[in-house]
């Protein structure tokens, strides 16, 4: 029982960090970033090379992740999505473009990084006992760092000028533009921030799970599940979705045999979406 709760908390925090980036991009630009998992994967590889191979300080490597993924996110928005937004009349076009960027990143990664699973030395070692439960120090560190990042992001979005502009853009693009906000610039920063968050999640979790070129889609799917539960484009919704998914997964694997857990998760999700398509915290009008 205690192990189940510990597993649930750890999963929920990790998942929250993954879901936040994708919901941020969706809220600002109304684009479901299919390449989110691939950005997570690239973050993992940046840390693998800088910390694992070139032996740079782990936290310096995380800063590099923010820069690399920030530039990738900014470039995607500036050179691909902005142009698409101006030219295309149908929303499906940006969705297809997002799928294309995911395939591009995955195949580039396969060519550059190879097919093998990679791992890095642990940043901290040891295992803590909490009652009868085990919590490795590496997981605890990731959980603490993820919590700091989540709180930091919430404060940034709530209290900074750029954060307020992002929230305004999420609510109404036209009105934001009329208020004198450079919406293109804010959208590019928003995409960069979302990509950096995905990369940071990858950079944190590579110390626990390792990384490989094909891992992206799995994280994208989990991120989609979370934002569907919590409500697409709602930051607290992403966190709530992560908590629900993390605990359902932990409880399911503990109490149910086989892969009934994910069968139940997907069945439950279908029923839930039939009853509340906007998610727990989303608004019916979008």
């Amino acid at each position: 029982m205690e192990q189940m709760l510990v597993n649930g908390v750890v999963l929920a925090v990790n998942y929250a960090l993954i879901a936040l980036g994708i919901t941020l991009i969706f809220s600002i630009m109304n684009i479901l970033n299919f390449a989110h998992g691939q950005m997570f994967m690239i973050g993992g590889f940046v840390v693998y090379y800088l910390y694992g191979i070139f032996k740079l300080n782990y936290f310096v490597s995380l800063v590099a992740v923010v820069i690399v993924l920030g530039v990738i996110g900014w470039s995607f928005e500036t050179f691909f999505f902005r142009r698409m937004r101006r030219m295309a009349t149908r929303e499906e076009n940006s969705m297809l473009l997002a799928v294309g960027t995911a395939l591009l990143l995955e195949n580039l990664a396969l060519s550059i990084f190879g097919e093998k699973q990679r791992g890095v030395p642990p940043v901290v070692t040891g295992v803590f006992r909490i009652g009868t439960a085990y919590l490795p120090a590496g997981r605890l560190l990731v959980m603490v760092l993820a919590l700091v990042l989540i709180v930091g992001l919430l404060l940034f979005v709530q209290y900074t000028k750029l954060g307020r502009a992002m929230r305004a853009l999420a609510q109404d693009r036209e009105v934001t533009h009329l208020m004198g906000v450079n919406v293109d610039r804010v959208a590019a920063y928003g995409f960069a921030l979302g990509a950096a968050l995905a990369g940071l999640a990858g950079g944190l979790l590579v110390t626990v799970f390792g990384v490989n070129s094909g891992v992206g889609n799995v994280y994208s799917i989990k991120a989609f599940i979370m934002i569907m539960i919590g409500g697409a484009g709602v930051v607290p919704g992403a966190i709530l979705g992560a908590i629900v998914l993390g605990f359902v997964e932990a409880i399911g694997y503990e109490l149910l045999p086989g892969s009934i857990t994910y069968l139940l998760i997907f069945t439950g999700l279908i029923i839930f979406l039939l009853l509340r398509p906007q998610g727990l915290l989303g608004k019916p009008w979008g």
Partner: protein, 401 residues
């Protein structure tokens, strides 16, 4: 001679050299026959290493032969051309890939696919097109009559499992076992075969219904349950090289003190990088060419493989055999067999050659009659390894008949 005349002469000489060079180069290229070999398997996504290792092995061997002027069959040297197709582990793509290889490319010999579902889907295409294929999937019906076009490329889990369990019972006093498998056809079949083998040997089965979804990276929830059963041995059925170190690490973090094993081949670099010291004592089937038993020819192959793929992969020690045995069997069956696989099949029962990848003087032949009622398996050595001080140490080397 004026400068202009000199330039004109140099120009004409240049043209003549170019034309002659092109004619002679083109002439030699077109004179040589090409033998195309298909590689069909998963080359992207989380299981990419399985298919890519097949591709890299075939490309490496082809390079080595082509540098010597090609491979000789019936007194004629053939340039080996590898045609790879990624099936993404999807049966639909495997079917379309097999159709492309057999119908568009006219290929009769295919290495792969990698799993039961894709191998089974390719079966009707290969049989209708008159092609032989070498899957790395363990489903017995693929290789048993009335089917005869598939040849298993490696040691199956139901061949290695009982031997590993018996060894662990005798040497480590293992009395009980738990199984955990990925929720996919191949690993689940391997788990079921493993459970049957363990029961026959008298092991107590503590649990066998725990599975995880493909793509899982956090194994704490599923392994909490498995470790909680208190078995002496946890078998990771059909585990992929990407998942094995994470499962091992998680089991050790959950204070599991027993033995962990699998019947699939793993990669020591991945185990060391991801699981670290937690991988010590892990038992697995090895690539069939571990450093202790390699011949000079295998060493040469390893060096070239590193150039082709970037780094060595232990799986390649097993997968190096497929192209080698295809070419050697074609040599025995004669050039007509290149387009007529029935001639190839007729040569299989009596085919034998010196194993070029082993130091010792051992035979390489088709085996598997005891399992499939016909010789439809490459007789690669069965190497069982244990991780010791961050390296694979061969526990024993056996064979399948």
């Amino acid at each position: 001679m004026s400068t202009l005349q000199l330039r004109r002469r140099n120009f004409l000489v240049g043209i003549a050299v170019f034309v002659l060079g092109t004619v002679s180069f083109g002439g030699s290229t077109y004179a040589q026959e090409v033998l195309k070999i298909g590689v069909l398997g998963v080359m992207s996504g989380s299981a990419a290493s399985w298919g890519l290792v097949n591709k890299y092995c075939a490309e490496t061997s082809a390079q080595l032969y082509n540098e010597q002027g090609g491979f000789e069959i019936g007194g004629k040297k053939y340039k080996i051309e590898i045609v790879p197709i990624d099936d993404k582990n999807d049966p639909k793509l495997a079917v379309s890939g097999a159709e492309r290889l057999t119908k568009q490319e006219g290929i009769h010999y295919i290495i792969g696919p990698n799993v039961d579902t894709t191998a089974a889907s390719v079966q009707p295409v290969a049989e209708a097109a008159g092609a032989i294929y070498f899957p790395y999937a363990f489903q017995k019906t693929l290789y048993s009559p009335p089917h005869g076009n598939a040849v298993l490329g490696m040691i199956a889990s139901y061949q290695a499992g009982p031997i590993i369990y018996k060894y662990l019972m005798d040497k480590k006093g293992v009395k009980s076992v738990s199984f955990v498998a990925r929720n996919e056809s191949d690993p689940l079949n391997q788990r079921d075969e493993g459970v049957q083998a363990a029961k026959k040997l008298g092991l107590e089965i503590k649990s066998s219904d725990d599975t995880y979804e493909p793509g899982t990276t956090d194994f704490f929830p599923v392994m909490s349950r498995v470790v909680g059963k208190g078995a002496d041995l946890i078998v990771l059925s059909g585990v992929a090289p990407a998942d094995a170190p994470l499962l091992i690490k998680t089991a050790r973090e959950l204070d599991f003190k027993g033995t962990l094993s699998t019947e699939t081949a793993q990669d020591i670099k991945i185990l060391n990088e991801v699981a670290g010291a937690a991988a010590e004592g892990f038992v697995c089937v090895g690539g069939a060419s571990t450093p202790e038993i390699r011949s000079d020819e295998m060493e040469k192959f390893v060096d070239r493989y590193k150039k082709v793929a970037g780094e060595w992969n232990d799986e390649a020690g097993t997968k190096v055999y497929a192209l080698e045995i295809i070419l050697a069997t074609l040599k025995k069956a004669g050039p007509e067999a290149i387009n007529d696989v029935e001639l190839f099949k007729k040569s299989m029962p009596d085919f034998t050659m010196k194993n070029p990848f082993l130091k010792e003087d051992k035979e390489l032949k088709y085996v598997g009659t005891a399992y499939f009622s016909q010789p439809r398996q490459i007789g690669v050595p069965m190497v069982v390894n244990q991780v010791s001080d961050g390296k694979f140490q061969a526990l024993f080397v056996g064979s399948v008949e």
